[in-house]
Symmetry: C2
Subunit: 382 residues, 2 copies
């Protein structure tokens, strides 16, 4: 690993920076996964995850990416021909449709313009017209566009119908406000590597009573992701069905301690504050934001490039000269927008440092930018 630059700060929307206090737990020895010791760590981690999800529902830890958890949510509930409503306004919303397609779902897409968020009344209309919809999926924080969807309001609507409500909180949980039980979320999936600030490779899923009813009458179409095997093994032995990632369990456990010590409300406040500062800084530089004002995420900010700025050159300067990783656009907005993540372990100094580097990079590329850092300081000094 001698040629790798480990000095960059990660202002991308995941994976995010991980505290050394968390990383260092992975230097602890491996323990057997079929032991009481591992069972205790697993149970403790699951109980902490329940507090972060704010749920009394069952929670499981999966050795796999957030996408494994998304897949698990669908493969265990959706059969061939089942009607599924996919609410999508970005890459991750669309990913649910790609997953549902693999399992032969009858998909209804409710799409928004990228940069806008989903409208509860549109969801109501579709559910009213299609009482046979079995599952509704939505992404809380659409990482690809910097948009937050109104999952609470949509949850109130879905509650009135028979459908299961599946929500991806991969890039919001531990940063933005999520309450699985109050929001009526039947299956909530999340990853470790975003606002929870743990290393990537491990994910979590919550399952409501109502979701179990559907799962128990659905034949799983996956072996590795069959949630019933996880439930059976955990309830009988506090174990996972297959060898879990022991080291990542240590790290997730420690990362959740940090989340709970800071407090979920405080974390939402911090993320809001950093988002506000980032937005103020970019707007002071004359940069137009990509997400509509009412639709903006508090964990990642998306902005349009001024004319003439080339994505690879701009992010190249940030990365190579200033040691800062930010993200470009994906899919239809590739090359047109950039995205600054301010989630997980991000603090004031990261945001100020990033805005300063953005200002310098713009000026180097001929776009006259100034006052960004000062505008952010005006927000942060309050």
């Amino acid at each position: 690993m001698k040629d790798i630059n480990f000095d960059r700060i990660l202002m991308i929307p995941g994976p995010t920076m991980v505290s050394s206090t968390v990383l260092s737990t992975m230097a602890y020895p491996i323990i057997g996964h079929r032991t009481k010791d591992y069972g205790n760590i697993l149970e403790d981690t699951i109980e902490k995850m329940k507090r972060v999800f704010r749920t009394k529902n069952d929670v499981f830890i999966i050795t796999g990416s957030g996408t494994a958890a998304m897949d698990m949510a669908i493969t265990n509930t959706v059969d061939k021909g089942d009607k599924v409503l996919i609410i999508a306004n970005g890459n991750f919303g669309e990913r649910f449709s790609k997953i549902a397609e693999v399992y032969g779902a009858n998909i209804i897409m409710l799409e928004n313009e990228w940069g806008d968020n989903a409208k509860p009344q549109d969801v109501k209309k579709i559910l009213e017209e299609n009482p046979d919809i079995k599952v509704v999926t939505i992404v809380h924080n659409e990482t690809s566009t910097g948009v937050a969807n109104p999952i609470k309001e949509i949850g109130e609507i879905v509650k009135e119908y028979n459908a299961l409500y599946i929500v991806d909180t991969v890039s919001s949980l531990g940063g933005d406000y999520v309450d699985v039980d109050k929001f009526n979320i039947d299956i909530c999936v999340t990853g470790s590597q975003k606002c929870l600030a743990a290393p990537p490779g491990i994910s979590a899923i919550s399952i409501s009573e109502k979701a179990w009813e559907v799962i128990n009458s659905t034949k799983s179409k996956s072996f590795y992701l069959d949630i019933k095997a996880y439930k059976k093994r955990y309830e009988s032995k506090k174990e996972t069905p297959y060898t879990p990632s022991v080291s990542l369990t240590y790290a997730l456990s420690k990362a959740l301690d940090r989340v709970l010590e800071e407090g979920l409300e405080n974390r939402v406040k911090r993320h809001k504050r950093l988002a506000k500062a980032t937005i103020a800084g970019l707007e002071a530089m004359g940069i137009e934001l990509f997400a509509k004002e009412w639709a903006r995420s508090i964990t990642v900010t998306s902005a349009k490039y001024p004319e003439g700025i080339v994505d690879s050159e701009f992010r190249g300067i940030l990365s190579n000269k200033y040691n800062i990783s930010i993200a470009g656009g994906q899919g239809q907005v590739s090359g047109k927008i950039f995205r600054v993540g301010h989630m997980g372990e991000a603090r004031e100094y990261h945001v100020l440092g990033t805005l300063g580097a953005i200002e310098m990079a713009f000026n180097e590329l001929g776009y006259n930018a100034e006052g960004g850092v000062n505008a952010a300081m005006d927000v942060l000094k309050l």
Copy 2:
């Protein structure tokens, strides 16, 4: 993690002990997974894995347990109604049949008595009678019984037919002799946490040209485990399709350095030597081995309990008094056998310490055992 005993040595057949030189790489900072830096680490890790597999075939790294890799091998090659020959003589052989069942395969089981290994002529007979068999699966080292299957000889037979040859080398690769190309293995799956002595949670798979032909004409029945997505992303960008476990990639990379520095031949020699010492020690104590002499694994040794010895008491003493984890039996031999893993980082002192503790535990439980350590020393001093 304050109440966890981190002082135990792992003489279980996985996860195995991981060197601090490997564990400590996971304390390195997280880097973005869509960067050239991560691409370089991934490529380097894959190239080292190819050397360990001894293959020119494509190799992919998967964020998931070894079971995820087993599932990936089947879901990408087996369609509903396809004829699959499952060679099984233990829990992991049987796992392939459970996976194939999920995908609706037409399964032919070739089973042996547990403790014995598969016979090439039986495989030949079935292939001769069933020229429409699409896939043959086998587990090289059957962790659950301490048996090694003759994958080279069976590979020579399968080569004469149309079927794909899928081999699980989870608990052999890096310990016992594996040569993917010479053995005609179309899909080889392995885990990180056995003889490779990396932490669990990451796995690898190799895919031959012939396997690609089948995969390309098979609709994947999984989203997360669709190997075509891995190939597409790696070939175009040296990336994984979904966020990989960055820290476990560091660790696997470093663990593979250790494997290659010691040398594959030397590792096989070391594992053979430790197996021979373990067997000599147990036999000197009057313990009957479980695996037939011709079928014995060199990475894990299985043995029958003398009458009157209760598994939980015996392993409880080893674990609580002597800080040594060994494994019990699974499935049909639960409570009847114990298994000593001597793989990965295991050295002479681990084997001698374990045999000594086994001797003391037997004596404490009323079974008169002696001379085990000395018999092992007679092997090891050569």
